[in-house]
Amino acid sequence: MRKRDLIVIGGGPAGMAAAIAARESGVRDILLLERDQHLGGILNQCIHTGFGLEYFKEILTGPEYADRFIRKIRNISDIEISLRSFAVRLENDRRITYLKPGGLHEVRAKALIMATGCREKTREMVHIPGTRPAGIFSAGLAQKLVNIEGLLPGREVVIVGSGDIGLIMARRFTLEGAKVKAIVEIESRTRGLVRNVVQCVEDFDIPIYFNHRISEICGKDRVEKVVVEKAPDAAGSGQPPEVFDIACDTVLLSVGLIPENELIEMAGVEIDRRTNSPVSREVNKTSVPGIFVCGNSFKVYDYVDSVTADSELAGRQAAEYLRDTRW
């Protein structure tokens, strides 16, 4: 089995920053595995601006931000980039099995950085009752459908939750000619950034219902309406909840993100069952020495700029680990 000094899993902003920083800290043998056919990860579908203010002191779109790192990493010959490479198994001795069209490969890493990002919470995770028609999307899937595939997921949209992707998609849908009928947020304030509330919601007069939740999704083949009610905490005890319908053909979910850590969980790395983050006392570190986790798979960040900064640290931490461990 081939041995590598450092393997980075994930070619989004976290993985690229970690690999580059590790190289700059002296690691000379690096393999980066990316499951997609492009580097850049989820930034590729984030065509809005607002990236890079901290890190580059410039306003960039997601693909522009990613491109800065893609150009850089492509020019580093000590980093081997393997695209369309899907890691299926990880052992706690840092043996990795991955699939590629044409082959299954096994390789062992002296140090490992996981930069696998996060996934969106689904309607099922927040237990919204009702039927299961077409027209229910995570905000990120809707974003991909519009921005990458050029498809319009729906024409009359209700957004559940006020996470940043949901807010950004509220503006996106409006600009595409669809009608965003409401954002329904169970908490008393938005979960997203203030700038997104202003630029994506208030500027377009999209109503937000705070302290409300969807009590039912209705529709046989396609979503027909949602039933909205006051959140139980807000309604006060003994009062019947205020209930009203909103007709729509689409429901977007923007109710939070969960770090993707199933691979290291399989390898026996301790995971916090509530957050799905690795149990850790120090940023990027896990219960298994030599296995690092960075970016949104370590914890969900608000800004990609912070992902980059902390992932660069992960690259340096891995380099230090490789230096300080006797092989």
Binding site: R35, R84, F86, V88, R89, T97, L99, K100, P101, G102, G103, L104, R119, E120, T122, R123, E124, M125, H127, P129, G130, T131, R132, P133, A134, F137, S138, G140, L141, K144, L145, V146, I148, E149, G150, L151, L152, P153, G154, R155, E176, G177, A178, S215, E216, C218, K220, D221, R222, D249, T250, E262, E265, R273, R274
Partner: protein
Amino acid sequence: MKIYDVAIIGGGVIGTAIARELSRYRLAVVLFEKEAELAFGVSKSNSGIIHPGTQHPSGSLKGRLCVKGNKLTKKLARELYIDFKEVGELIVAFDEDERRRLLDIKSDGDALGVPGLRMVDKKWLRKNEPNLSDKAIAALYAPTAGIISPYRWVYDFAENAAANGVEIRTGVKVTAIKKTPAGFDITASTGKFGARYVINAAGLYADDVSGMVGLNDFRIKPRKGEEFLLDKKRGHITRHLIFPLPSKTSKGILVTRTSDGNPMIGPTAEEIDDKEDLSTTREGLRKVMEGAKRLVPSVSENDIIAYFAGLRPVAGDDFIIRHEPGVPGFVNVAGIQSPGLTAAPAIALEVAEILRKNGLALKKKIVFHKHRKREEHLFAIPLKKTARLIKKDAGYGDIVCRCEMVSAREVREAIARGARTMDGIKFRTRAQAGRCHGSFCTTRLMKILSEEALIPLAGVTKRGCCSQIVRGDRSDA
């Protein structure tokens, strides 16, 4: 007008099991399914449990056909290369009174010929089912209970039936049936057909189909069941299928798992009127969590990754499986609720015998293909085998669904075998059935389906008819 020997109405597990059984004989057989794909009615929401045959009175059709069907299922699963896991079930008692009721269930089961039933004590339970509630004092162990994928079972029956000459017509709704001297004239949404015999396996709508020939002596009452699937990561929480003591109308809230490895909790049992009401409710979740935690306290709401509701087609206490002497040639197979999935192969034999007794000559074909071409599911095979497959076909190394490890090759094969919708792909391959619920793979799946089945991207549906995933191109807005 094409005239068939036998027309089967309904493409669920009952209709397709009958189709596969009849495909042994020199007969022209057609099966009509009104939905876009097979198994899209009652069968898709089935729990997938192959029951051992306990909990039915010894004189009932249900009891007899369940015990027989359990044995036949094992044999057929090997012939058709479907994954059947004989995991065994435990019916759990929490006090002395319940323990006594278990003994009654055991003697009913023994009388029906259910193999291997035995009582197990607390010590046995602690060792063999460690996550079971420590309040349980005993259980009845039925080793022959098992699990199977209900929809893949339907697809496998249908595919093998088709390989043996049965015509499977999906998206065809039968709207009228007229008795003629020679048999029946059938009016369907796509034209007219003739048949000498008609088998009504129309599930929830069996009463409507029976009514088309003037027989209105039973009604189908839907009984709704809500089920909740947990993350595969929690697959270890139980080893057996765990049942509480049954009530009058249901086997209670169970903790089981699917043949693909997800723990499953449910179902509720609620009499309703609307045959299309597949909604889940907060109350259903509450009941299911309460029932499941009573059996296995470590079950957590946070582990839920999917839920759905299904409707059991109930027509009285027992199955209705009979030739209708008032309308010669018309066979009703109705009210096939639990344990219908288990009984399906036995029901198919029963129906073949009914047809023979009523004048249909059953002559065996010279060539009958009893096996099906096996398909591979990466999630179910060891990585070594995956490596060999990838060498033969690079498409196995092109992973589309990350949560369930489904390759592009498997998706293409599912489409080649008949999938035409996103749900059809999900049921066959598990793509979209994992924890991200399709957030990552939907676009790729849409593109593969669009290419392989020549459907425009904007025309791809979730489950046929008006369930398009998107509402057009961006330029349409």
